[in-house]
Symmetry: C2
Subunit: 304 residues, 2 copies
Amino acid sequence: MELRQLRYFVAVAEELHFGRAASRVHIAQPPFSQQIKGLEEEIGARLLERNSRKVRLTAEGQYFYDQAVSILAQADVAALTVARMAKGEFGCVNVGFMEIAMDSPLPEAIRAFRQGSPDVSVQISQLGASAQLANIRSGKLDVGFSTVFLHGMDGLASIRLFSKKHAIAVPDDHKFASEKSLSLEDIAPEKLILFPRSGQPDLYDSIIKAFSEKGLVPIISQEVAGLSGAAALIASGMGITFLPDNSRVFRKGITLIPIRDEFPTMDLFMVWKRGDYSNTNKGFMESVAGYFSKYALFFDEISE
Amino acid sequence: MELRQLRYFVAVAEELHFGRAASRVHIAQPPFSQQIKGLEEEIGARLLERNSRKVRLTAEGQYFYDQAVSILAQADVAALTVARMAKGEFGCVNVGFMEIAMDSPLPEAIRAFRQGSPDVSVQISQLGASAQLANIRSGKLDVGFSTVFLHGMDGLASIRLFSKKHAIAVPDDHKFASEKSLSLEDIAPEKLILFPRSGQPDLYDSIIKAFSEKGLVPIISQEVAGLSGAAALIASGMGITFLPDNSRVFRKGITLIPIRDEFPTMDLFMVWKRGDYSNTNKGFMESVAGYFSKYALFFDEISE
DNA sequence: TAAAAATACTCCATAGGTATTTTAT
DNA sequence: ATAAAATACCTATGGAGTATTTTTA
C-alpha cells in the first residue's frame, strides 16, 4: 500500500466517478482503475461498488475513506512541521539562565524571539553556571546564559553577549549615597556582602585580586546566594555589594555608585554544545545574539 | 512522499546504519540512500546527520520518526480493519425488532452471534413493523425482525425464521385453566383482549376471519399495544388473548391452552434491504438465520 | 586504512498512456 | 444508444541492482 493509492482512493471516494477522479489526480482513467483495483486486492476488501453507471462506497470503503483522509493529513502535517522545524519556525528550545541574567536585556531578547517565532516553545529554567554546563552536555539544555566564560572548554562553545561595569550598591541612607564615584580604598573598610565563591570562582577571585593589587583586603561580612536576598540585606543596611551598573531590577532602597578604579566586569555569555544544535536552536541563538548586535561574531563561532 | 519512504526511514532511524537498514527492507544500500535523500529533499529538511562512521537523527528526524511510525501503524490498522469488515468480523449492525420477538429464540440467536463476532457492535432497538420498514429503507436500520410478511415488497427482502401456533392465554383461575385444548366456539363468548389492528392488520384480520368462517364473532373487549400490558390484563382477569404456544416470557399468573381448530400462526420474519448489506450485515444475518436452521433457504434469498 | 555512505551507471518492474471492449441503463 | 468502467497492450519513469569512489574516524 502506498500513499499514492490512498490519494487516488480519496479522489474517487469524493467524486464517485472514476474518470473525473482520474483527471483530478492527473492520470488517465485506465491506470487509475488499475491502482484502485490493486489497492482493493492488497487489503482484501471491495471498497467501491461500481457498474458502468454508478459508483458508491461500500461500508468498508466508507471507513477506509475516513482513515485515508486522516493518514494523508497526518503525512502532510508531519512533512510541513518538519520543514518548519528546519527553518527554525517550529520546535522547542530548552534554555537555562543564571538569576543575574534577569537583570539584563536578555529577558527582552527572549521575548522578541518568542514574538518572531510564536510556534517555538521556549522552556526557560533558572540554573547556576555549573548546572547549565552539565545539562548542556547531557542534552537536557540546549542553550545556557551564564556569567562564566569558557576558556575553549571541551565540547562547549560560547560567546559574550555583553560586558557591564560593576557599581557599588549601598542603602539609600548610606554615607556613600551621595558620592559621584568611589575608589577601592573607599570600599575596603566597609562590610561587604558577596556571592558564594563556588558559584563563580573566577569572578570572585578577580574581585579579591583587584583589592589586593592595591594592598587592600575587603571585609566580607556575608556570602549570600540569590540576588534578591542580597538586595534585601543591602537595603536593610547589613552591608554593601557590587551590582552591574544601571541595574534595572534590584534597586528598591538601593543607590548605585560607579567605581573609579579598574575592576572586573559582569559579563554574560551564551553557551551551547559545540556543533550540536537543531535549526530551531540555531534560530533562537541567532535571534538572541542578534538582539545583542553580535551577529558577525556569532556566526564565526557557530559555524565550526 | 510515499509510505515506502516512511518504511525506509523508520528502518534507518532505528538501525542508525544505512547498510543494515537497507537489508532490513530487503534492498541494496545505494538505492536505499537515494530514497532517504529523496525524502529529505521533498520535505525540505535533513532528517539524519551522517558521515561514513556515524548516523544520528536530527531534531527534525526524531520528530518525523514518531510521525512516520504513527502513520504506518494507522495505515496497517486501517487495512487490517477493512479486511476484517469484509470478512464480517468487524463493524456495526443496526437491528430493529418487535416486542413479540423477545418471546422467541431470537435474543439467544443474537447472543450467539455476539459471542462468535465480539468485534461487531450490534445495536438493537425495539420498533413496530412499519417503523422497521421505514428505517430499513432509509438505511438507519440494517435488519429488522417482524411478524409481518412482505409479499415481495419493492426493495425489501425477508425470510421466515419460524412459525409458531397460537394458544389461548387465560388467568390461572379461569374456568378454562384446566382444559387440554379449546375450540373457537369455546373462545368466542369470552372477552377478548387483542393488539390494535394498525400494528399487524393482516394477522388481526386473519384472526377475525378464522372466527367468522365458523359463523362466530369474537367479543373484543380491549385493544392493547404492548405484550406486558396485555399479560397484566389477562392475569388480573380482564379477559383472555392469544399468545404463541410455549411462550417463555409472559406467564406469571397465566395458563396457555392449545387451540383445536385451524388458526393463524405467529410468524417471525427477518427483513433487510434487498441487495444492500455490508459483509458485517451478511455475517449477522447468516448467523441468525443459521441459528434458526434456515441456511439453505436463506442463501437462496440473499444472493440475488 | 577500513568501514560506511555517496556517486555513477544500468536494468527492469510497474506506473501511466492509448486503443478497445464490455456493461448496464 | 451511450456513458463509463474494465481489459489489453504499449511506453517510459524511476525504483532497485552492481561497481566504484569518497569520506572520516
